[in-house]
Every structure is written in structure tokens, then in C-alpha cells.
């Protein structure tokens, strides 16, 4: 099988798997007071320090969570509630049109149920945000903005945002800035303190760790109202028995991914560039989406004119090639990607898109397999799309 969907999830690293298994064999609740509990607590705190060190944060800024969606929800809702409670007029959120649904839907929910106003920042044709637009938005709504949330790198088209510049603009106004860095960590350099952001989402399974564990890096001076109430295990901002084995494996994976990032990026970007070059040669009409230079090393995203992405996916899947239409699924039916629509694509182009994402296990053979299968798949998908009733 040629697995070209690492942005969806990537295989666990051996060292993370081993750390998980070794820790999972030990009994102990990190909140217990006896020796077994203290041992679990030590594992958690060592992991916290490793994650903090790898990502340029202080250990006290690491809040372990159940993964990326939870971290995003905690940042968006938690900070919104806390800041609005402190100053009731502060009920505006600023976000981008290309966020992952974990942020997008959390923002929409606050708008629908909590009376939040939202300022949506547009992107250009490459999916990039403009810091000046953020500055204008914050100037127009001085003192009313509870939080700015903009992703570090886009999960669909791979465009990397000018996060440090955006964070600096927010900092000028004293507004907390959250970034969903799920796709960025391990792919490009990510340093919490140096970036100037006040909250950052990271998750395990995109970088070789387990699914269901992640963290929100949260600056100590940014208040957040908890989503989950209970034992208050994580700084009183997140409750739930700590997943010691998951946290240990997560920390091992974060450390390995960050340590090997430069070498990884060089290798994977070379494979990706080869893939892009050969896809263009095989299907000359293809449109390459996203920023050509400021992009994730493993991401290649195309529109195939005259095709439907889901037909291509089916045909490639039958040839053992795993990729993604990169779009959100609602009712199992692919909706045109909000990211591509925000980038100015029409419905047809959005629906004709496929994402190939490479990762730490990718090889040249994976690219070969794709290039071998692609021309027939495109030809068949075109025939199928020609049968559609005109929109």
C-alpha cells in the first residue's frame, strides 16, 4: 500500500510505541498519593518537561488534553468565556476562513449560543493571511476582542501562515493569540515562546505519537474557563485522570519529531517535490494549490480539472493508494472544501481536489505507485464527471 495520507494520521514511531507499552504495564493514577501514584506522576511531569523543552515552552504552560479537537475547543471557548467574564463587552472573536473545523465550529457555536461576534479574516489565492487585515480588524474593534485564533499551517493545502507576525499584531493590542499548530509541529520549526503566541494546540497522532492525547500550551497569564469539570488535574483548567502511558508516548514522539525536524523536512520535501513534478507531467492540466514556498514539506495538493475528487480517491484506493479529498465530511458526503472556497476556488475546482501528504515512512516507491495509477484514474474520473447534470 502507498500511504499518502500522513496529514490525516501518521504511523506511531517505534520509540513512542515502546514507551507506551512499557508505561501502560505500570499501575498508578498520577493523582494518587502512594508510591505507584507518585511513579505515574513522575512520568507525567517528566513528559511535561520534555514537551515544554521541545516546543520552547515552560512546563507550567503545558496542559495535557485528549487531543487536538479538545485543545482547540479549550482555547477558543475557554479563553473567550474567561475574557468576556472579566469584561462583558469583550465578546468578539477573530479567526480565519481556513481554520480546521475544530476551531471553525467552536467559533460558530459561540456565535450561535453565546452571542459572540466574529471577525473572519480572508486569505489570498495561496491561502495566506495578511497581518495588516488583522491589524485593521483589531483597530476597528479595540477592546472588544476576546481572542484571535489562526492556524499555524493549513491541514488541507499546507500553506504556512506568518504566525509570528500575526501574534505580534495581537500582542500590540494586548489580545491573546491562539494557534492550531497540529500540522506544523515536527514539520517546520515551532517555538512557543519565540513565536509570541499565547496558546498553541498540538496533538500526538500527527507526529508519531498515539491518538487521543495532545496538549494546549497556554501562557500563565491567559485565563481559560474549563470545558471539563472534575478533579482539576491539569492546572484546574482540564479535568480527567491523566493518561500516563499516552502522555509519555506523546512526549517521546514530540521530542523525536522536533529533534529530527530539519532532516525530516529535507528528505520529505525532496520526495514531495518529485511527486509534484511527476504529477504535473502525468496530468498537465493539474492545478497546484497552496503557497508554493511557505508550505508544509509533506503536503501536495492539487485540483484535477474535469474530475471529482471522490471518484479519484475510489480509483486510487482500488490500486492501493491512500489519499484524501481533504474536505470535511458531513453525513459521509464530501462537501466542497471551505479552505479552497476561501482561496477563491469555485465549487467544481474545490470538488476536484486531492491531497497527498507524505510522512516519516514515505518512500520513492510510494510516489512511483501513485504516478503509475494516476493517468488511468484521471481518465476514468473524467468520464464519470462528464455524466453529471450541470450545476
Amino acid at each position: 500500500m502507498a500511504y499518502l495520507d500522513h496529514a490525516a494520521t501518521t504511523p506511531m514511531l517505534d520509540e513512542a510505541l515502546e514507551a507506551y507499552a512499557a508505561t501502560a504495564r505500570e499501575v498508578g493514577n498520577a493523582s494518587s498519593l502512594h508510591a505507584a501514584g507518585r511513579r505515574a506522576r513522575r512520568r507525567v511531569e517528566e513528559s511535561r518537561e520534555r514537551v515544554a523543552a521541545a516546543l520552547g515552552a515552560r512546563p507550567s504552560e503545558v496542559v495535557f488534553t485528549g487531543g487536538g479537537t479538545e485543545s482547540d475547543n479549550l482555547a477558543v471557548k475557554g479563553v473567550f468565556w474567561a475574557r468576556r467574564d472579566a469584561a462583558p463587552g469583550r465578546s468578539r472573536l477573530v479567526s480565519s476562513a481556513v481554520e480546521h473545523h475544530a476551531v471553525l465550529d467552536a467559533v460558530d457555536w459561540l456565535a450561535a449560543h453565546e452571542g459572540a461576534e466574529v471577525g473572519w479574516l480572508p486569505v489570498d489565492g495561496a491561502g495566506r493571511l495578511d497581518p495588516d487585515r488583522l491589524r485593521a480588524e483589531l483597530t476597528a474593534h479595540t477592546d472588544r476582542v476576546a481572542l484571535v485564533t489562526c492556524m499555524w499551517a493549513n491541514n488541507e493545502v499546507g500553506t504556512v501562515q506568518p504566525v509570528a507576525e500575526l501574534a505580534a499584531v495581537a500582542a500590540e493590542r494586548g489580545v491573546p493569540f491562539h494557534t492550531d499548530a497540529i500540522q506544523a509541529v515536527g514539520q517546520i520549526p515551532v517555538d512557543f515562546a519565540a513565536s509570541g503566541v499565547s496558546a498553541l494546540t498540538v496533538t500526538g497522532h500527527k507526529l508519531g505519537g498515539p491518538t487521543g492525547v495532545g496538549a494546549l500550551l497556554l501562557a500563565r497569564d491567559v485565563p481559560a474557563t474549563p470545558l471539563l469539570h472534575g478533579g482539576g488535574q491539569e492546572r484546574d483548567v482540564r479535568s480527567g485522570t491523566l493518561d500516563t502511558a499516552g502522555i509519555v508516548a506523546f512526549a517521546v514522539a514530540v521530542e523525536a519529531a522536533v529533534k529530527g525536524q530539519q532532516e525530516y523536512a529535507n528528505r520529505v520535501a525532496a520526495l514531495r517535490d518529485d511527486l509534484v513534478r511527476r504529477v504535473r507531467k502525468a496530468v498537465p492540466e493539474v492545478v497546484f494549490n497552496g503557497d508554493p514556498t511557505d508550505r508544509l514539506p509533506g503536503n501536495a495538493h492539487f485540483s484535477f480539472p474535469g474530475c471529482e475528487g471522490d471518484a479519484l480517491l475510489l480509483l486510487l484506493d482500488a490500486q492501493g493508494i491512500a489519499c484524501s479529498t481533504g474536505s470535511a465530511c458531513s453525513a459521509g458526503v464530501a462537501q466542497p472544501s471551505h479552505v479552497l472556497i476561501a482561496m477563491g476556488a469555485d465549487d467544481d475546482r474545490a470538488r476536484s481536489s486531492l491531497r497527498f501528504s507524505l510522512g516519516h515512512t514515505s518512500t520513492a516507491a510510494d510516489v512511483d505507485a501513485l504516478i503509475a495509477a494516476l493517468p488511468t484514474a484521471v481518465e476514468r474520473a473524467r468520464r464519470a464527471a462528464a455524466l453529471r447534470i450541470p450545476r
Partner: protein, 357 residues
Amino acid sequence: MRVLAAMSGGVDSAVAAARAVEAGYDVTGVHLALARNPQTYRTGARGCCTLEDSRDARRAADVIGIPFYVWDMAERFHADVVDDFVAEYAAGRTPNPCLRCNEKIKFAAVLDRAVALGFDAVVTGHHARLGPDGLLRRSVDLAKDQSYVLAVLTREQLDRSIFPLGDATKAEVREEAARRGLAVADKPDSHDICFIADGDTRGFLAARLGEAPGEVVDALTGAVVGSHRGAYQYTVGQRRGLHLDRPAPDGRPRYVLSITPKTNTVTVGPAEALEVSRVRATRPVWTGGERPTAPIECEVQLRAHGDVVPAAVTLEADTLHAELRRPLRGVAAGQAIVAYRPDPAGDVVLGSATITG
């Protein structure tokens, strides 16, 4: 041979897909998403296009061990089935949306897409037999037989269709599903029209066609005997829900005899006035052998699960005429007339056409 199994999430299509795998086909499962907004269609086990049905279909595909995808056919379904349904009622006819879905969606839009993508045929869980002779026959389970709603298929469509369940009764299909470990084994059958969420066809039509008050007229006296809020809410042969102001002089029940959209009139009369001996139908399809050039004696069925009567059928280019050997009541324009040749190995579908009068 690569085949595409249309999987509704029900027991029939799940067993059909499993049988196709066993028959040696390379099977891919597809669930058709037909609702623009899945929440607006029937929920639970009663419908055929909800999120729950999609999940049931996916689980069945897992158990059978075949790839599974969801295909978005909502726009097509809306244009070819739902809009057609409304337009037919507005024109005073009584459509059969399941038949239209077979004709336009399952064995047209889906089949064409499948062929373009490299598949050779479509497999469905319909209860009908289609053997190597290419003839469409009734299922062995006459109570579940669906040959009536498949008779509209052309030779080209039938040649790319596989119905693995024709030799099984519904009870056998359920038993087999249980044996195969398919969780849908005891899922209730779907009924009614999948795109009318609450089963209220009149309400559905009223919301789309608006109120159009008109008169109910007695066929014998020409007198106005009642009023209605939309002629499209009636079907030929209907007795209930007429709310007539004046009873018939003889006190006998009256039935809807005809609907005239032009004057927005519903005409009612006694049961015997419903009796029809001659049927004219349009857009004939003939798949049961050579097209006959002279009248042939066969059997005809004029609605789903309706009576079967002997008839002489004459086929012309665009029209089919039938002389019924025994009169039938409640023959509605818009329904299909299906001609069968009685056969001990399963009555053979000769052809079909849409009743015009």
C-alpha cells in the same frame, strides 16, 4: 468482473452484496446519499437515506469485507425523482417514485458513473430474477416481488444489472443475513416514500404546490358535491378523505374517478364507474424477447402489488394498448402497466409503459 453493490443500509442489499462476493465478483459497496439534508428524510429503520442507514451499510460492507464509499446523488435524486413526483401530482397523475428512482438513479446515474469508473455492472438487493437468458422474472417470493418497479429498465440497463436475491424469500434473506453475521438481519423493512419524512404525502405536496381550492363534482349528476384544497391531493380510486357535503342519492360510497388539473376539478362517482377495460400507455419498454407486431395474450399488472389480469397487448412505436379481459378498478395515470408472460420458472416481464388513460 468488477461490480458496484448499491447498499441502502437494509438487509436485502447487504445480502445481495455478500452473494455477489461469493459468486466471484470483485465487489465495491456504495451507499447513495439522496437527501440534500439527511435530517429531513425519514429516520431510523423506516427510510432508506439517513445517516443511520449509511452507518448500517458501512458496517455490512465491513463484515462482508468489501471497500465502501458514499456517493452523493442528492441533486440528481431531487431533480429526477422528487421534482418529478411533485410535477406528476400537479398534472393529475399518480407517480411511482421507486420506479422512477430505478429508472433514473440506480440503473442510470449510478450505473453510468460506475461504468465510467471501470465497473462492469451494478448489484442491488431487489427481489426479482434476472438469469443468463437476460429475462427479468418475478421473485420466488411473490409477496416481495419487485419486478414491477424494475420493468421500466431497458435491455442495456438489464445487461449491466445483477439481482442476486431473486431465488430467495424475504425470510430466507433474513436468515442468511443472521448467518453471515450482518447486524441488519432483523432491521425492519422500509415502507412508504423515503423523501417524505413524516409519511404525510398530502402535506408534502401542499407545501410545494400551495393551496388550490376547487370543486368536487359528481360524475352522474354534474352537481358540485364538495370542495377540495388542491386536486393534486387525490388519486384515482380514492374513497377516503373526500369530505363530501352531499351524500349520493342512493347512499352508496363514491370514489375519485378522475382529476382534471386544467379546471382543478376532482370528479367522483360510484365504484362501477371506476372499472376500466382499456388502457393506453406511453413510452413503452420491451425486454421480454422480440417486440410483438400483432396483439399478444399475456397478463398485466397496473400498480405495485396490484391485481394481475389477462389482457391482449398491442405494441406500437410510442404507445402500448391493453384490452383487459376482466375490468380493473382504480387505474391511475402515471402508474406503470407491466406485461408478464406466465411461466412456471417465474413470470417473465415482457414490457412496461406509463399509463396515460
